[in-house]
Amino acid sequence: MATVKTHRKAPGLIALFVILAVAPLLAANAFHYDLMIKICLTAIVAVGLNLLVGYAGQVSLGHAAFYAGGAYASALLTQNYEFAPLPAMLTAAVAVGSLAWLVGRPILHLKGHYLSMATLGLGVIAAIVINNEDQITGGPDGLPVAPLSLFGHELSVFGSYEWFGMTITGTQLWYLLAAGALFLAVWLALNLIDSPLGRALRALHGSEIAAQVAGVDTAKYKLRVFVISAVYASVAGSLYAHYSGFITPDIASFGHSIELITIVVLGGMASTYGVILGAAILLLIPQFLTGFQELEMVLFGAILMAVMIFMPRGLVPTIARRFQKEAA
């Protein structure tokens, strides 16, 4: 009898850990750290969104709303209600998760493009509310956010900290935090995917009918993964708000939702490491294209099209497949 091969997660996680640990060596200045922090935070959203889109096969074109929800909730709770950042972040995650649960119930019955349309609609409505309620949200001019503090210690990007005799800048500390959060997010996602719940989610994508006859309440599971991915986005949004110190309604925009889904598809649907690469690429491309000035948009559009045409499964799955073929 053949032995059962179990999927091993350790090598991937170790590789991720090494990359995250080595990346600071590439950072020559605070700006490089800034980019890496943003990549980590965006990748957290992408990892969560990938659970919904890549694994469970339910497209959302409105996820920026949850990201913005986390960001604004954190900002407002710390500012107006004297919450400490950590409880604020948790409260925000619970609120955003509940909101996702509430709106997810009716719309997740929709299929295909209608689901895309409905999520798009929710996202745009959220953006309009944030934009219009300027008494609360600061409107289009944006809202300043207090720096993060953990257990009474303020973690300002601009600070400088003593750590075991080493001096470490606020930006570097923030990188550690963001990278740690990303690592945790990936670990949780990999656990989920490899669990019975994860199989049920993947079955939603593979064959909803098969899932049903196996006893999976598909509506309930869609809702669950929708909420999980919303909470991922919310936490990343909260972190971003504290990190950047200033948020505007742009983060809730349709364009940002599209950017998030593009990251998932570009990096590779149903590939947790793929979407991290997707986040890195999508955030770095504009930095590399600055030299091209006016050509930036054309090049970006062309790159996006070319990758998707020639690698329709996304970067990482396509490359992985090629390696496997060569090895075989």
């Binding site: 889109v53 497209v59 009716p106 719309i107 019955h109 929709l110 299929k111 295909g112 493009h113 209608y114 895309s116 349309m117 409905a118 798009l120 609609g121 929710l122 745009v124 409505i125 309009i128 509310v129 219009n132 009918i209 349709f254 599209i258 889904i261 593009t262 598809v265 570009l266 649907m269 006016e294 050509l295 930036e296 948009m297 054309v298 090049l299 970006f300 559009g301 062309a302 790159i303 996006l304 099209m305 998707m308 045409i309 329709p312 499964r313 996304g314």
Partner: protein
């Protein structure tokens, strides 16, 4: 009282007619290839901006307009040939991202070659506006309604009276069956993109005198067209027209009677409510999943 109602209605129907034309383009491409073409709005931009550019280059308006429409048609054909057809087995989401890439690409090109300024086209007729029931009706609105109606009728005739149109219809219903009876489905799909682009371009030209035109107008109009198509039910031409008009009127009445602050949210609330009760839009087909 009534004059206000008329005013809101005129404004709503004019906008609605435009949304309907964009939605028709979406529907056409969706039917033929099940792709949601997020670059549909760019065809409007090419129509409008193309006309402006050709007129600036000295072409008279009666040459500039067809010239711009042809440009859009070529863009539509190229979009299918170069971007959609090579990725034919890709996931639906992947195809969506490809069309988003195409829309960014086209917008970028327009920005480089045609500039970033807004432009106004002259109205098609000299008399600016008429007074109907105490409300003002722009003559350009009449042009828009007339041309939109004409296009819808022409499209209807094309599908029912011409061999090409019937072939397109057959392909959209069942691609495999169509190719078995000898229809070149690849060419037909290209044709669908071309026609959708033409429709978009015409819409882009006829609105330009009212709404102006620029390299980035495609985003908003394209999105509205997608909403209209979804309200009507993806794949239904009648639904697209109905969805467009409904959307236009809903916007105008909300701005007029309720609050302009949340006017922009109305289309999205509308679509959510409609999809809640009719998960396939107003006139979308209710396909039974075969197992």
């Amino acid at each position: 009282m009534f004059s206000e109602f008329f005013q809101f209605s005129f404004s709503g129907i004019t906008l609605g007619a435009i949304y309907a034309l964009v939605a028709l383009g979406f529907t056409l491409i969706y039917n033929a290839s099940h792709v949601i073409n997020f670059a549909q709005g760019e065809f409007l931009m090419i129509g409008g901006m193309g006309t402006v550019v050709l007129m600036d280059a000295g072409a008279p308006i009666y040459l500039a307009i067809p010239g711009a429409i042809v440009m859009a048609g070529i863009a539509g054909v190229l979009l299918h040939k170069l971007a959609i057809a090579p990725a034919k087995n890709a996931d639906v989401v992947t195809l969506i991202i490809i069309t988003i890439g195409a829309s960014i690409f086209l917008r970028g090109l327009a920005q480089i070659f045609w500039g970033k300024d807004y432009h106004a086209l002259p109205a098609f007729s000299d008399t600016e506006s008429l007074s109907v029931g105490g409300a003002v009706l722009l003559t350009q609105s009449l042009w828009i309604l007339g041309i939109a109606t004409l296009l819808v009728v022409a499209l209807g005739l094309f599908f029912t009276r011409t061999a090409l149109g019937k072939a397109l219809l057959a392909t959209s219903m069942n691609k495999d069956a169509a190719s078995m009876v000898g229809i070149k489905t690849g060419a037909i799909l290209t044709l669908a993109f071309g026609i959708a682009a033409l429709l978009g371009a015409v819409a882009g030209v006829i609105v330009a005198p009212i709404t102006f035109t620029a390299y980035d107008i495609g985003i908003m109009l394209g999105l509205k067209g997608f909403i209209a198509a979804a309200i009507g039910g993806l794949g239904s031409s009648t639904g697209a027209i109905l969805g467009g008009l409904l959307l236009g009127l809903a916007e105008a009445y909300t701005a007029g009677y309720i609050s302009s602050d949340y006017k922009d949210a109305v289309p999205f609330v509308l679509i959510l409510v409609i999809l809640f009760f009719l998960p396939n839009g107003l006139l979308g087909s209710r396909a039974v999943e075969r197992v």
